[in-house]
């Protein structure tokens, strides 16, 4: 037994094991009689096991994928996951309603049959007003998918119209089918934009106010100039006044220099006297 497991493990590390062999390894490590030399791997395989069970039980993941799928936003990879999920035997109860649809898509993609009985049946139910929410979702997704049977084409516009109607009647939820995260993100974005617009407006307002303030100041000076001020308008007069003003400045200036001289001379005199 131990030797066989060692062999299988070697194969496993090489990635050459078949599904059955891997199952055997799993069973071995989940059992209680593990050989000492294999004990070190026990943790690893137990972890793998938990991981795989977690993945299959994460119905929420599938729910999210389905949400996306109805909006026709899934990537090819995600659609493959969904397909695999619905093909598997571990379908959650609440997803059983969609099995038929995915089955139908699967068949369609394989044989391209014109059998549209599933959708026909759903549509009939829909016209009677007997469809459940889930079945309506299936219909919506079908008409959004773009792979519509010719016989159903006239209804595509109707479902399109329903969709837009839904968006119009709830303007606060223009993107009602968006994942919540994204919606919040978009709202934040628009907030940021509002703030930046505000700051721009504020900057312009401050600038204009500043300009008006400065302009008013200049204006005030000009105005008061005209009220009580004699503005010289004759060059000869201007020259005469300037000459007189300069004369006053220069005499006063010379006075200050002369008084300095006086002080100096007084000092000199006293110095001479003391000597």
């Amino acid at each position: 037994m131990t030797a066989k497991i060692t062999k299988l493990l070697d194969k496993y590390w090489e990635g050459d094991t078949s599904l059955e062999e891997e199952h055997e390894i799993k069973q071995y490590f989940l059992s209680d009689n593990i050989d000492k030399q294999h004990l070190q791997y026990k943790g690893l395989f137990v972890f793998f096991n938990q991981q795989s069970t977690i993945q299959t039980t994460l119905v929420a993941d599938i729910d999210a994928l389905l949400e996306k799928y109805w909006e026709a936003e899934t990537s090819e990879k995600e659609e493959a996951i969904l397909k695999a999920y619905f093909k598997s035997n571990y379908i959650d109860q609440k997803h059983e309603a969609f099995v038929g649809l995915f089955d139908f898509y699967d068949k369609r993609s394989q044989i391209r049959t014109t059998s549209t009985t599933d959708i026909d049946a759903l549509l009939n139910k829909y016209w009677e007003g007997e469809t459940t929410e889930k079945e309506e979702k299936v219909l919506k997704a079908y008409f959004k998918s773009g792979q519509i049977e010719e016989a159903h084409l006239p209804f595509a516009d109707l479902f399109d119209f329903f969709e837009t109607q839904q968006q119009i009647t709830y303007p606060t939820k223009v993107i009602p089918m968006q994942p919540l995260d994204e919606q919040v993100h978009i709202e934040k974005k628009s907030n940021v934009r509002v703030i930046s617009i505000f700051s721009r407006v504020a900057a312009v307002a401050i600038f204009i106010l500043g300009a008006i303030f400065i302009f008013n100041n200049i204006n005030n000076v000009a105005q008061s100039n005209s009220t009580n001020v004699y503005v010289v308008e004759d060059p000869e007069e201007a020259l005469r006044i300037t000459r007189e003003a300069l004369a006053m400045v220069s005499t006063k200036f010379r006075e200050s220099q002369e008084s300095l001289k006086e002080i100096n001379s007084i000092d000199q005199i006293t110095l001479f006297k003391s000597e």
């Binding site: 600038f207 009220t227 009580n228 004699y230 003003a245 200050s256």
Partner: protein
């Protein structure tokens, strides 16, 4: 946001610079509003015309000074002179302005205040306060004190008449 902030900062800096010039500007403004004051204003354009009117041969030194002058404002009053002198003196105590000289006679105060930009005097303020006369003069432009000092002897005779008017004691 950064841009907005820098614009606001620039505006504030602009206002601060504006405010310093305003100290003198507002002083003139206040006195202009006072009916007891006589104000004479010569604009830069008038200085240009005055320079053209000078007889270059006859008044070489004067022409050289007038050429660089941009503006002249003279304000005078004969009421409450000592009070106005001390008030103006206080208000003109601005950091960017420097007191060049102060002369104190018996009852006459004279003060020269200058503002320097780029190593030359760009504004010259002359404050004269006596018992019955207060005069405030403001020259703007490029002012060369040496040229003005040289001018004094020649102008003494011409200026005497005006000086007698301004300072009747002399």
């Amino acid at each position: 946001m950064k841009n907005v902030f820098s614009i606001i900062m620039m505006l504030f800096i602009g206002f601060a610079a504006h405010a310093q010039n305003d100290a003198i500007e507002s002083l003139f403004k206040d006195y202009q509003a006072d009916a007891n004051f006589k104000t004479v204003y010569i604009s830069p354009k008038m200085f240009q015309m005055a320079y053209n009117a000078t007889d270059v041969n006859d008044e070489k030194e004067l022409a050289a000074i007038v050429k660089d002058l941009k503006g002249l404002r003279i304000m005078s009053t004969e009421k409450e002179t000592s009070k106005i002198y001390s008030e103006a003196n206080k208000r003109l105590n601005i950091r960017t302005y420097e007191t060049l000289a102060t002369i104190k006679d018996k009852d006459t105060n004279v003060k020269f205040i200058t503002k320097e930009t780029n190593g030359s005097i760009s504004e010259l303020l002359l404050l004269i306060g006596s018992k019955n006369k207060f005069v405030l003069m403001s020259f703007t432009g490029k002012i060369d004190l040496n040229k003005i000092a040289k001018l004094s002897k020649k102008l003494d005779i011409d200026g005497a008449e005006y000086l007698d008017k301004v300072n009747s004691k002399k």
